[in-house]
Amino acid sequence: MGRLIKAEFRKTLTLNTWWILLIPLVVVSFWMSFAWGNITNDFASYIGSGIARELAASIGLSPDNLPVGLLAISHGVNITQLIPAVFGVFALAGEYNSKTITTTFLTAPNRVSALTAKMISYIAWGALYGLLSFGVAALATVITVDSPGQPSGGQWLGALGGTILAYILVTLFGIGLGAVLNKVVLAVLLVIGYFLIIENVLVLVLWKWASVLGGILPNGTANGIVGGIAAEAFGFNSLNIPGDTGHFDQLGLQLAAGAPGVISWWASALIFAGWTAVFFVGGWLSNQKRDIT
């Protein structure tokens, strides 16, 4: 297995995709967090009024001391989750595209070991992407957010762990989707179109009737891991919203955390792990038997 994992790393490192994708990851993650970091200082003032004040008071927080920095990080790392997803698509569908899958299967003891090696090496890649994305998002947050709004040490660690977990899952999700569709271009377009547009539109349009969608669909749950950590720090998650708060106030607050409809960070992680498993297992099974002609 060690041999095959080494081969997988060589495959990635001998092409340019891995570092080319890092460019938008670093740039977008930084600027998204930078922009939100600037907004959150204002957001803290918004929190200090109306419904938000009640909310904050209900969990015993002074609006001035809310860790709004978490919101900045959450937005930065969530938007760039698209990148490890695209990277994951190339892992297997890309090998079918260039037909290197033939040699990959011919040089592995069997397909289970070839796919397992791929999974393990891409878990490492997902973690690395997550670490980098978190690093630049944290940097932007430290630069922009006033010190009362900075997260506590535990919250920093929680956000880091959540980011890495989310990035690993998203990478595996991309592998699975690519493997099921077996077409690189289609899978990439679908990932970007769905995560960026389709699901967001769906959640907002159907919010009135099915506010649960954002808490269970792939994009919502992927965002909900780090977003949920941020939301929890504010008591924004839907379980804690006081009864007299309207649907749209709740949505607005959760949107601010970058995770509309989020249930909780761990529920999001579990549900998104489920989505990942569906695609990953589907892709795995179809590869186990697929004729390479």
Partner: protein, 358 residues
């Protein structure tokens, strides 16, 4: 699980259906080490599918294909047992030749210097840092062969390796494969052209329409062919009559007015003609070439579902055990269908031939 190390390829009752299409039907043959075996059949005969089943890339519908007594997924580290060159496969266009080999050297577990070694073996050392996407077809074939050799395998399987090679490359490949087999290893090489591999192979498996037509040594196949003598007599009718009286009955007219005699030597024909008082202006011994035989063995793939190979009476069990090469070579039907020149026809005979046709 350990393979037996024999170097033997065994294909037993192998079948593959792609939906309603039967690509391979009940194919059986074995390939022994120490020789180069040709795997021949027209395009679409099922060669590639068979090789891919052998290599574990395609799952058989039924039957089994083994190397060293094991299926590909039971070989342990398969690339150290079998290396393969498949058509047009397996390189990322943006990866350099050396990096491509280093990836798979890692997967097989051989040291990195092996990647440079095999590049040298196939004559690509100077192109090591060029991207595979910039390679010519011939260079890609060499790189594919280099990949196959990484694990120093006992068995080499090549699918149409001559495609894209220039004449010099073909000669080089031929010598390489023959040397490889001489080391006691197994080489199986597919082609749709017998002439392309005729000088490379010792053994041959011929398939058509997904079924085995022949397998055995190429030498036996050659010997199994009967020669015929083309005779230009002063009087064809007299000669035919004389020959028939002497029990030589496999006679056919040729387009240029000569008589084609099978089953007799030049000396016999000369003696008989002399006794009959027929002058002979020329005799030429002719062996039907292997390509013609190959064509006959594989024809009908596109014309009839159950083609008849070699007409009766001597049906010699095509595709039988390796000991049974076809003994009775029949000329293709067009030999009998030719119209004889005027004046050669025997009374009472219609169409071609002088009676007693074989």
């Amino acid at each position: 699980m350990q393979h037996d190390g024999s170097g033997r390829i065994a294909v037993q009752n192998l079948s593959k259906h792609f939906g309603p299409v039967a690509a391979v039907q009940n194919l059986s043959f074995t390939v022994e080490p120490g020789s180069v075996t040709g795997f021949l059949g027209p395009n679409g005969a099922g060669k590639t599918t068979t090789l891919r089943m052998l290599l574990g890339l395609v799952t058989p519908s039924s039957g089994v294909a083994t190397i060293n007594g094991r299926t590909h997924d039971q070989l342990g580290n398969p690339a150290t047992v079998v290396g393969s060159v498949l058509e047009n496969e397996g390189f990322h266009p943006k990866r350099s030749a050396l990096n491509h080999l280093r990836v798979y050297a890692a997967a097989i577990g051989v040291p990195d210097r092996r990647a440079e070694e095999v590049l040298g073996l196939v004559g690509l050392s100077s192109a090591a840092h060029r991207r595979a996407g910039d390679f010519s077809l011939g260079m890609r074939q060499r790189l594919a062969l280099a990949t196959a050799l990484l694990g120093n395998p006992q068995v080499l399987v090549l699918d149409e390796p001559a495609n894209g090679l220039d004449p010099e490359g073909i000669v080089w490949l031929r010598n390489f494969l023959r040397a490889y087999a001489r080391e006691g290893r197994t080489v199986l090489v597919s082609s749709h052209l017998l002439s392309e591999v005729e000088q490379t192979i010792d053994q041959v498996v011929i398939i058509s329409a997904g079924m085995t037509r022949y397998f055995g040594s190429l030498e036996q196949l050659r010997q199994g062919q009967r020669s015929r003598v083309l005779v230009q007599p002063s009087d064809a009718g007299e000669l035919v009559k004389a020959l028939q009286e002497n029990g030589i009955t496999q006679l056919e007219p040729t387009q240029d007015g000569r008589v084609a005699v099978s089953g007799a030597t030049v000396q016999q024909i000369g003696d008989i003609a002399s006794k009959a008082g027929v002058a002979l202006y020329g005799m030429q011994e002719e062996r039907a070439d292997l390509e013609q035989l190959f064509f006959q063995l594989t024809q009908g793939q596109y014309s009839a579902p159950q083609p008849q190979y070699g007409q009766p009476p001597q049906q010699g069990g095509w595709g039988g055990p390796p000991s049974g090469p076809q003994q009775q070579q029949q000329y293709p039907p067009n030999y009998q269908q030719q119209q004889p020149p005027p004046g050669h026809q025997q009374p009472g005979q219609q169409g071609g031939g002088w009676g007693g046709q074989g």
